[in-house]
């Protein structure tokens, strides 16, 4: 069987690489490599050698031009040394090869701003949605209940009953789309796989603080039509053990945290398909 290999890109302000790699390992990946963006641009590390790409949380370039904007620009234009290609070419090839990308928080912002989500009709380089300043105008670190759409093509959320409880930690998490049609398509195709909700996962909510940022339709995470590319503002890698739960000292919780399933599902998919 092929070794399941995960890659976590870091550098220029990415912050969650260690726990993302840890979650990949716990989830069943045989290898979880943390690679600095410099190692990709010099060609030392190539995406082609991996199955699962993690674009994780942080403040790429300080979010100086708007979250992840500068990195989206860099990935689009920067060339890989010694090869006749740009990094973006490696990424589109990665997608075409049927591989997996998970963007968390800043990584979600990056995917959306590069156009890789929702990527309707398979157009991965056309931006149709964005993530912008929270309605309250402030960064928020708080835990949220996320209702899962069981009919979503996302392979990451398979097997989740009702929803998951995860932390959000962002200042720019308000999901918006370019027009009503994009939103309709996202909803019709069940791409909005995670929505902020009440604690019983009965219905999405627009009320603060359950919905921490005012996202349209309470959207917290979306996937592309293949279900292999997903982005979400909450942090699944931040809840892989019960001691990370804010109330672990008062509730009976299983050892495994609720966020681990995202990585387990990814590993399972890779092992089955590669």
């Amino acid at each position: 069987m092929t070794k399941a290999k995960a890659l976590v890109i870091t550098g220029n302000g990415t912050n969650c690489e260690t726990e993302a790699a840890h979650a990949c390992k716990l989830g069943g990946f045989d290898e979880a490599r943390i690679a600095h963006i410099a190692e990709l641009l010099t060609g030392e590390v190539s995406l082609d050698d991996y199955h699962f790409l993690n674009l994780t949380g942080g403040f790429l370039d300080g979010d100086d031009l708007g979250s992840a904007k500068a990195q989206a620009n860099r990935l689009r234009y920067a060339a890989v040394e010694g090869k006749e290609e740009r990094l973006v070419d490696q990424i589109t090839r990665f997608i075409a090869d049927g591989k997996l990308i998970l963007g968390v928080c800043n990584g979600f912002q990056l995917l959306v701003k590069m156009g890789m989500l929702p990527a309707l009709s398979g157009n991965y380089l056309n931006q149709t949605a964005t993530l912008t300043y929270n309605e309250g105008g402030r960064f928020q670190d708080r835990w949220c209940y996320l209702k899962v759409d069981a009919d979503s093509p996302s392979l990451y959320t398979r097997g989740i009953e009702g929803g998951v409880y995860l932390p959000v930690r962002h200042g720019e998490g308000k999901f918006l789309v370019d027009d009503a049609k994009t939103l309709e398509t996202i909803e019709a195709k069940h791409l909005s796989c995670l929505k902020y909700s009440d604690k019983n996962y009965t219905a999405p909510t627009m009320d603060f603080p359950e919905n921490p940022n005012g996202s349209v339709n309470a959207i917290a995470g979306i996937c592309d039509e293949t279900g292999r590319i997903m982005g979400l503002m909450p942090h699944p890698e931040a809840f892989v053990h019960r001691t990370q739960h804010p109330r672990w000292t008062r509730e009976e919780l299983p050892e495994e945290g609720e966020g681990l399933i995202f990585f387990k599902n990814a590993a399972k998919y890779v092992k089955k398909n590669f």
Partner: protein, 996 residues
């Protein structure tokens, strides 16, 4: 020609930034405005074609989903007044820098030298305002004129002049690499004028020592042979001023003190630092013998203790008070990213695992008149909170613990304490990583940011009181991303052993970092002309002492330099070889091939005799209030919960990422609704292990109003008891002291110097007395001794403040205990005895008194409680535990109850009391702030075992947790004296700061 690219939000998109400004204008300036919208402006000063400008505007500069762009055409419309705010020349513009880089990627060519992008923000304000109102909004809210410039245009003027003209805030200085000499053969008055005018902060004695050095015939001879004149160069004088500054040299802590204890008995103390702080650690380590876990104390940028066989723990807490007073945002941001460099620059370098921060402010709702130069406490609050938010969050370091402390006197100077812990492998390539050395011949390398005029005279300026002429250039704005990139590179270079020594460039810039490094090997030779500059035109002395941020200095062995430089380039980090370390005994600065400073290290670092400072203690006597007993104290409890020092700080804490890196175990907030205030933090720095780092702190400046000895004792006890409450082990625990004082040196301006110095002596005595009993070594610390404001008429001195931080370990983080009560039926225990100690309590403060009975800490009793409690916790007997501090038992009980979502029934008659029975009253039992007390809850079936564990200590079962979510307290006489629903108590506690 420069171009303006303006980015507007599409009409249908909400503008949270504008909405926030609108709220603040109404809330704080009491002006009605109808609407505020904002526009981001990029002024591109670069040779770009029209097509390229469009690509840039449509690409990295704007978000097509929500924004529109406009090039060289004003976008603003539909407003009454427009205020545009941008930076002054030379002020760090992080967004502008990123924008410039983005252009480079987009066009495939970096911007040329001298080209740049500058950002500003337009605020479009609609409403019935006058020009004066607009001015008030600009200067009172939107613009800090020290670092920013603004212009106001009303709609008509805007239209008439066709928008805002492009303005490029580029530093324009005549290129001058001049070195001047300063004649010291002058009168004493003239010597002092030189010191004052140059912001050298050197005393007359120090100036005369310098004068004497330059008169020395051997020195004159040597200088002559180098082509140097007899008088010092400006480079030399500046280097000495930095090295000898209070900030760098801690002259007050090294002084000879004559201490009169008030009874006529005097004592001579040679260096408070050596006599108390260092001695504490030495004595504790000696007593611990082979259990000593200190690895590196007081000699590096941060302290290092053992965490386990494979990892070492590093910790440092700094202050950044003076810059935060002038530019709260930039000052505080620089504070946090600055302290990050301390653990990073300790040993061979540590990975940063968490931040802590404690802020002391005046009331943000302050309504009285303030001296002219002082910013309103609310602006300081807003700016500091935001600066630390950006610094911490963007660096990817969780902020896990902190406090906000309020006292009117902090209007004179806010205190901004920022701490950072790190973790380093115990060894790297077989060598202990907490040690480092330099071998003559190693190359001097500087990495990270470039040098500008920012932060010149920071070290000397913070060694003086704040006044109207405090220099603009002393302020810097940090850039977390440049630093993060540098750290990402350096940690990898560390693991490849590409350098031998690392330290940070903080106060005093290169003069301090290279000066200190030179002591390691015995000299250096450095060419200042090689230093990378932000813009041309810096004089050599400015290059030497600039505190421009995000820089580390390293010693790289010559055989590793190629690999080091190549790797730096790959990681996008600027690294420059500036010279060579030597064993010449000389701090030798060149500019090109010309010697500009030639200072013997022996003179630089040892040339200073100790200051002589008198200290005389006189116990203050305050009015002792007579408090009439009342039938009910519910209102008092609610008022306490709503006091600034006690109320919820959740609106601030949630803005700080406290979970990044994935190791969070005890978070700042806990309980059924995730909103109860934790006592301390627990973090797992190694994700596949359950070993935890525990961190807490104590701070109680008010107690200094009675006795700084007890202020310090209580801060130490509070820090330790917070740490112990969650599960920190007494077997591996260390302390860190941060002194923030008002000037204690007797002078014309400070006639009460001897009293303030006596306070300092007493605080130091407490440090020794308590830390030795607690077996808690001090591993690092810092002092900031000039926290006064004086404008010639008004003097505001802060209350002497010790922040005592406690760091240590718990073997199994899964045993951690939080403060929220867990279930109905659990038994409530009060550990530790209560005494009539309302002095300087929050309760008396509310009643308008100070009193005299400050809490006294009984170290042995405290230790017994903590040891017994620690054993009970380890045995899994404790359901919840909350420390008693501000507001006493009443506040602790209320917080534990509403955090847990259950009620509590308590009986004051059962509270263990010490002292004269006549002093026992409901008020004392409810609100006294006696030290070393914990409120614990225990499952009924574990109660017997818990009592056995606590046997021999002062404790009692005082009640039970109830299903009814109400706090009900019976008084001594048996009547109910506090009775309130959790919801009411919580609302009172959450109200005051919830909208800030």
């Amino acid at each position: 020609m420069p171009h303006r690219i303006e980015i507007t939000l599409k009409d249908e998109v909400r503008d949270p930034r504008g909405e926030r400004i609108k709220r603040e204008i109404e809330h704080f300036l009491h002006l009605e405005v109808a609407d505020v919208r904002t526009i981001d402006v990029y002024t591109v000063d670069a040779a770009l074609s029209a097509d390229e400008l469009t690509q840039v505007a449509a690409g990295p500069f704007s978000d097509p989903v929500i924004q529109n762009y406009s090039i060289d055409k004003p976008a603003a419309a539909g407003f009454d007044y427009l205020v545009e705010v941008g930076f002054r020349p030379g002020v760090t513009d992080n967004v502008g820098r990123t924008a410039g880089e983005a252009i480079g990627y987009l066009l495939g060519r970096p911007l040329a030298v001298g080209e740049g992008v500058y950002t500003s923000v337009q605020y479009l304000i609609s409403g019935k305002l006058s020009q004066a109102d607009a001015e008030k909004i600009a200067t009172g809210l939107l613009c800090n004129t020290l670092i920013q410039r603004y212009q106001i245009l009303d709609a008509a003027t805007f239209k008439a002049q066709g928008g805002v003209a492009p303005f490029v805030p580029k530093v324009q200085v005549e290129a001058k690499a001049e070195v001047n000499t300063i004649n010291l053969e002058v009168s004493d008055e003239e010597l002092m004028r030189i010191s004052r005018d140059g912001v050298l902060a050197l005393t007359l004695d120090e100036m005369k020592i310098i004068q004497a050095h330059y008169r020395d015939p051997l020195v004159v001879e040597k200088r002559k042979s180098l082509g140097l004149g007899a008088a010092p160069t400006d480079v030399e004088l500046e280097a000495l001023a930095q090295t000898w500054s209070e900030h760098c040299k801690h002259k007050i802590f090294s002084a000879d003190v004559t201490y009169d204890d008030g009874t006529g008995k005097t004592e001579k103390i040679n260096s408070l630092f050596k006599s108390y702080i260092q001695k504490t650690t030495a004595d504790v380590r000696a007593a611990q013998g082979d259990k000593d876990y200190c690895l590196s104390v007081f000699k590096d940028n941060a302290g290092v203790i053992k965490f386990n066989d494979d990892w070492s723990l590093v910790f440092k807490v700094e202050t950044h008070n003076s810059p935060s007073a002038l530019d709260p945002y930039g000052g505080a941001l620089t504070g946090i990213v600055g302290v990050n460099r301390d653990p990073f620059g300790t040993g061979k370098g540590a990975k940063l695992i968490f931040n802590t921060d404690v802020f002391c402010f005046a009331d943000p709702f302050y309504e009285k008149e303030l001296p002219k130069r002082l910013l309103h406490p609310r602006r300081i609050y807003e700016g500091v909170v935001e600066g630390v938010e950006h610094g911490g969050n963007k660096s990817g370091i969780p902020t896990v613990n902190g406090s906000l402390v309020f006292d009117e006197r902090f209007a004179g100077k806010p205190l901004v304490f920022c701490g950072t812990a790190g973790l380093m492998p115990a060894t790297i390539k077989g060598e202990p990583s907490h040690q480092k050395k330099i071998i003559p011949g190693d190359l001097i390398v500087m990495t990270g940011g470039r040098i500008g005029k920012d932060g010149i005279h920071g070290a000397t300026f913070s060694s003086e009181e704040l006044n109207e002429n405090s220099p603009v250039s002393a302020v810097q704005i940090g850039d977390p991303i440049t630093q993060k990139r540098m750290f990402d590179f350096l940690i990898r270079a560390r693991d490849k052993a590409l350098y031998r020594f690392i330290t940070d460039n903080g106060a005093g810039g290169l003069s301090s970092s290279i000066g200190e490094m030179s002591e390691e090997c015995g000299g250096c030779q450095l060419d200042l002309s090689k230093a990378p500059l932000k813009y041309p035109g810096l004089a050599p002395w400015e290059i030497l002492i600039s505190e421009a941020q995000e820089r580390m200095s390293l010693a790289v062995p010559p055989e590793k330099i190629d690999e080091f430089m190549e790797m730096a380039k790959r990681y996008g980090v600027e690294a420059t070889v500036l010279g060579t370390f030597t064993d010449s005994g000389i701090f030798h600065m060149l500019y090109g091939d010309k010697t500009v400073a030639y200072l013997p290290l022996s003179f630089m670092h040892a040339g200073l005799p100790p200051m002589q400072i008198p200290a005389r203690w006189e116990k203050p006597v305050h009015e002792e209030p007579k408090l009439a007993p009342a039938a009910d104290y519910t209102t008092d409890v609610k008022a306490l919960l709503s006091s600034l020092n006690i109320c919820s700080k959740e609106s601030v804490v949630r803005r700080y990422d406290h979970e990044v890196q994935g190791g969070s175990v005890v978070k700042p907030f806990t309980g059924v609704d995730n909103d109860g205030p934790s006592d301390a933090a627990v973090v797992r720095p190694i994700l596949d292990s359950f070993e935890g780092v525990v961190v807490g702190h104590g701070i109680c400046p008010r107690y200094s109003d009675i006795d700084a000895y007890d202020m310090a004792a209580n801060a130490i006890d509070e820090g330790l008891r917070n740490y112990v409450a969650v599960g920190g082990s007494l077997d591996l625990v260390a302390g860190l002291d941060n002194f923030c004082w008002c000037d204690p040196v007797l002078s014309e301006r400070t006639p009460d110097g001897p009293y303030k110095m006596a306070q300092l002596v007493r605080a130091n005595k407490a440090l020794y007395d308590y830390c030795t009993v607690f077996s808690m070594p001090l591993i690092s610390g810092k002092d900031s001794m000039k926290n006064d404001f004086y404008d010639g008429t008004t003097k505001i001195s802060i209350p002497p403040t010790l922040l005592f931080s406690v760091i240590g370990k718990m073997e199994d983080a899964r045993l951690a205990v939080t403060m929220d009560v867990k279930r109905a039926g659990d038994q409530v225990y009060l550990l530790g005895a209560t005494a009539n100690e309302l002095g300087a309590s929050e309760y008396l403060a509310q009643k308008g008194f100070i009193g005299n009975n400050v809490p006294k800490v009984d170290a042995q009793a405290a230790l017994a409680t903590y040891r017994a409690y620690g054993a009970a916790l380890k045995a899994g007997l404790v359901a919840s535990c909350h420390d008693l501090s501000d507001g006493g038992l009443a506040v602790a009980a209320a917080e534990s109850a509403f955090a847990g979502g259950f009620g509590m029934e308590l009986d004051l008659a059962k509270v263990p009391f010490k002292g004269d029975a006549g002093d026992k009253s409901d008020i004392v039992l409810l609100f006294s702030e006696s030290a070393s007390r914990l409120l614990a809850t225990v499952r009924a079936e574990k109660a017997a075992e818990f009592e056995k564990a606590m046997a021999g200590t002062a404790f009692a079962k005082i009640g039970a947790v109830t299903a009814d979510p109400t706090l009900k307290v019976k008084g001594i006489a048996g009547n109910v004296v506090v009775n309130a629903a959790n919801a009411e108590l919580k609302a009172a506690w959450q109200e005051p700061l919830k909208d800030l």
